[in-house]
Amino acid sequence: MRFQLVDWIILLLYLGLSVFVGLWVKRYVENMEGYFVAGRRVKIALGSATLIATEIGIVTFMYLGEIGYVTGFSCFVLGITGLIGFIVIGKTGFVISSLRRLKVMTIPEYYELRYSRGVRLIGGIVLFFAGVLNMGIFLRMDGIFLTETMGFSSDVLTPVMIIMLLIVISYTVLGGMISVIVTDFLQFVILTFGMLTATVFVLLEVDLTAIAEAVTREMGEEGVNPFINPKFGWTFIIWMLVGSICTSALYQPVASKSFASENPEVGRKLFLIAGLTLAGRYMIPMFWGVAALAFFGPDLSPTMAMPKLLGTVVPSGFLGLMIAGMLAASMSTYSAYMLAWSSVAARDIIPPILHKDMGERTTMLTSRVISILIGIFILVFGLWYELPATAFQYIAITGAMYSAGAFGCIAFGLYWKKANVVGAYASLILGAVAPLAFLVLSQIQNVIPEYFHFLIDVNVSGFLSFLLAALGMVAGSLFTQQAYPPRHLQPQE
């Protein structure tokens, strides 16, 4: 057992503090705007911390570590594409500034303002299901990480997952965005310290020369050149670059942090500051994965190699700190995601189906109940679902299912006057088709004809989703301008 008494004490202190702070802050929730967007009073540094904490979770460390173990230094290119995406948004305010000016609380609200209530409903459904599917593997990855680093057997995976989930649900459900932001900040500080601890001990135990030699020996040129690496290539890199610029601001858990900011300028700057950290927060766990290759060789399970390395090189005492940091990272991600998806269901899906406005108290109650249901779903899904690709690619493809259509609807809606309701429907539906086909077909790939196999190439499928969404919007709008004239919006501030 690597995890000693002192580690347990540190970990329990952190968990206790998180629950206490999360529940204490719930007394500040005064109304729906307070619950969903923290009263729109968040400033730059706090907003940046909460945005970064939302984007980093154990699942992020796991899939980045896994891809580092499998592809060597080549995967560092993803840090560069992500950095470019965030910096472009942070400098130009692409999409995010306009949405913040419109004072929406969720992305699908924009669909109703610009297109119709029906588009909001369909957009909300696609966003909700893609988002919850995307979140489906988080717990499983977290469980593997914790059992590998702490030295437990896989039998304790389920109880570990349930305890973590219960803590997050308790403060997210009760405190809403205020609790999420305050706990995010605490978690941001602790996770940064955890990352620093892990990186220092990896560097102390694994020689840089040995890491470089392992990559060259096991992977050759593919380990340092992402363009010839079969996991990446030009298609994947272009998809990631386009995706980073077009959709980084469109993901509800991320966008909600900008919606909570005190003005559109602050909302834009959050992306600039979060962008400055992006290459580092991608490359650090990737580096742990590459170091695991040098330390253990290429024969371990790629998913387990990185956590096994951390569990081996980080000594007792520091291990408790590191695990607290990793749990902090995950809890901030869960809370933000649960709040984001439950707010979409409570505000964008259920009211249009019921054909009535539910009022503030009922909306908040509905959101709380849905948060609990999401927690139950990801627990069950995380235990049985078999990944069809690497975890990184699963996250990317489920993200594309929603974000391709959202890109079509929002970017074209904001910057192209001819975008109309027909184009919006076409974009949402076509954007989800290719990723959905990938997820279904990859489960039955042995029985599908050879000529459909291109659809189970995750890179082709992801790239295709953006292409189809854009085509759907352009063709749908241009062919129906007379019958469905576009609606134009005036910003509120």
């Binding site: 500040y28 005064e30 009073r41 540094a45 290459a279 580092g280 927060r281």
Partner: protein
């Protein structure tokens, strides 16, 4: 070490330093923002 591995390791080093330095600044300034947020938000219960 080849020039390609040196390139990636240097890039990793710069990115990691930028991350930790930015995080340290955000932490210090963020405490002030957090106090400000809670001061402006009324306690309801």
């Amino acid at each position: 070490m080849t020039s390609a591995t040196i390139f990636w390791l240097v890039l990793f080093g710069l990115s990691a330093v930028l991350f930790f330095v930015t995080a340290a600044i955000i932490t210090v300034v963020g405490v002030r923002d957090l106090k400000d947020l809670l001061r402006k938000t009324e306690v309801t219960k």
